[in-house]
């Protein structure tokens, strides 16, 4: 089993519930390392992690990682994340998004709700851990993103399963935030300055700017490196 410090770091470095800074790569790395371990030990490490944190109630990244790392059995679905009311949830068809507020698109986790509203008390991830222990198995295979993932945001938002209007100002904002998440995913091969700035996504609403990123990445002929869980 991996040493505890390593596991804690993998969990801690998973992005928080903030669509403007979310990095899918942080989850892919954690999932691809942890799913190879034994279920009982992973469960125990998660419990230790949650119990070790002062703010045990604020465990958004723990909820998210559990939803990606485990697969419910016998037709069950994950309970909702008890952190508050997700932003952009007005017209959500959750049947299309069993991992909501995440969407797993060709093995790339995207955060499709940019944040949450709270006026109460967030639930502890311990409940989610218990659900996984009883009703789930660790996912069997690595998450393996496609060779060029940059088109995934546009594909998702224009697909039949997307639940929101894709036109107008808010549609442009949503698309840009998802594009920025994808640029963070490919940083191993293609680095964009300021990509971690929460306001960076705004530049990606410009069609010309986005096409330049697409072209530049295409020229690199980058590929997914399953050994290091990043693009190279």
């Amino acid at each position: 089993m991996l040493e505890q410090k390593k596991v804690f770091e993998l969990i801690s470095r998973c992005s928080k519930w903030d669509g403007y800074t979310f990095d899918p790569g942080s989850y892919i790395r954690a999932v691809n390392i942890l799913h190879q371990e034994s279920k009982s030990e992973v469960i125990e490490q998660f419990r230790d992690y949650v119990n070790s944190l002062e703010m045990s109630g604020i465990g958004d990244n723990v909820f998210f990682l559990l939803r990606l790392l485990f697969e419910p059995e016998n037709g069950r679905t994950f309970p909702s994340v008890p952190m508050g009311k997700p932003v952009d949830s007005g017209e959500a068809n959750l049947a299309n998004f069993p991992l909501y507020p995440l969407a797993l698109v060709q093995d790339v986790p995207l955060l499709i709700s940019s944040g949450y509203i709270l006026g109460g008390k967030p639930g502890s991830p311990l409940g989610h851990i218990a659900f996984c222990e009883v009703n789930c198995q660790l996912r069997a295979k690595d998450l393996r993103p496609p060779e060029n993932p940059l088109g995934l945001a546009d594909e998702l938002i224009n697909s039949l399963i997307w639940y929101q209007k894709t036109e107008g100002y808010e549609g442009e904002e949503k698309l840009a935030t998802l594009r920025a998440q994808l640029l963070r995913l490919i940083r191993g091969a293609y680095q964009v300055q300021e990509v971690d700035d929460p306001d960076f996504y705004g530049t990606l609403k410009n069609k010309t700017v986005w096409e330049k990123h697409l072209e530049a990445f295409q020229k690199l002929k980058a590929s997914w490196d399953s050994t290091n869980n990043s693009y190279k």
């Binding site: 040493e3 410090k5 390593k6 804690f8 770091e9 801690s12 470095r13 928080k16 903030d18 403007y20 800074t21 990095d23 790569g25 942080s26 790395r29 390392i33 992690y49 070790s52 944190l53 002062e54 703010m55 045990s56 109630g57 604020i58 990244n61 909702s80 008890p82 952190m83 508050g84 009311k85 997700p86 932003v87 952009d88 949830s89 007005g90 940019s114 944040g115 949450y116 509203i117 709270l118 006026g119 109460g120 008390k121 967030p122 639930g123 502890s124 311990l126 409940g127 107008g168 100002y169 808010e170 904002e173 940083r187 191993g188 929460p198 306001d199 705004g202 290091n228 869980n229 990043s230």
Partner: protein, 411 residues
Amino acid sequence: MSVLASTHQEQGQAEHQINEVQEQEAGRESAFAGLPSQSLALMRAPLAGAQRQNIVARMGQQYGNRQLQRILNTVQTPMGGHPTQIEEEPTQPIGGNPEQEEFQGGTSTRSNFLGSMAQSYGILGGAVQRTIGDGHDLTNQRFSGNTLLEAVFDNERVLRLGSATDEFRGVSSVQLALQDLGHLVPKFGIDGIFGAETVRAVKAFQKKEGIAVDGVVGPDTMGHLDTKAPNGTAPVKPAAPAAGGAVTIDPVTTGGPAFTDAGHFHWRIRWNHNATNGFIVQEITNTYNAQNPDGSANTGVQPTPHYFEAWQVDAAGAITDIATSEGTDDYWIRPRNPNTRGSWSMDANVFFAPSLDPAAGFGRGAAGGAPDAGDLFATTTKPANLSPLVSTRRNGGKWNNTNGNNTHDPA
């Protein structure tokens, strides 16, 4: 290379993590400038045992016994294999040591070196060794009794870039305090890891406090956090009311209220109350009106307009139905909503109820119709068995994050 760094490489961790570890290592190495490289290994070795004896033996062969003795004196440890009596030995005064010239080969003087080592590895003389309950203890309830943070305050440990597993809870407590004081850790949040982001937050706090800015939480910084972080004293719980007496339920701030940018807001409280055998019920009324830069309505953030949420209290007055380990009972968050402007408000009326009114349809999360309440029992239907109003509170304001603005004006 450290185990941590090599592990990062093996597992393909993000580049920034490797950088953080390298920064951490660089910080530690700088404390040894001018000293033989084995000094670092010596300090890391257990205070007794074969590993330490081997290091000492090799250093003796390489530098001679006289120089070795000076090194050992410097690191304030006894000769290899000698029983550890560090806390009983006289403490070498920090600074003003006549042997300082022996160690002038880098940027660190011996006094700096001693101070850094003492802080980094918890090696201090008995003169400053303290314990909890000695009169030099943390008084802020959020820190008090945390053995790690008490040790930091007593100059027996420090928190700095990089952190051991057993420091997660202490680091997360410090991160939370820094955030409550307005020094945010936005990317990684309260994660228990003392990374570069936390260093920046610590430095910002130190600068504001006018103390040494080094990004390390030692006794001075810990003392300032203890004084300045919200909730400096534990509220006294009012006595339980006599039959027919008044129930008191008052919010005590544990974090915030704070406005950051793009309409973000957070405020944490816990209940100071004398309620027993029933429920604290809070009625929330929300308004939230956001506009896009072109003036059209922004519909992404839609709090539930009106709901009731409940905390169960037992015969002793303890809240029983939800974890409160972090000392917070109620947490208000309005999310970032970039490139918008608008206004919002939250109004709360607090009541007591002897039970959850079945007709009101309380449920958790979406089942109660108010996912805003998180994991609390909630409903959008007014319960019929509420006491007279016990207390109220509110917050709100206007924000503008459009066209280059980034303002938030409390209402």
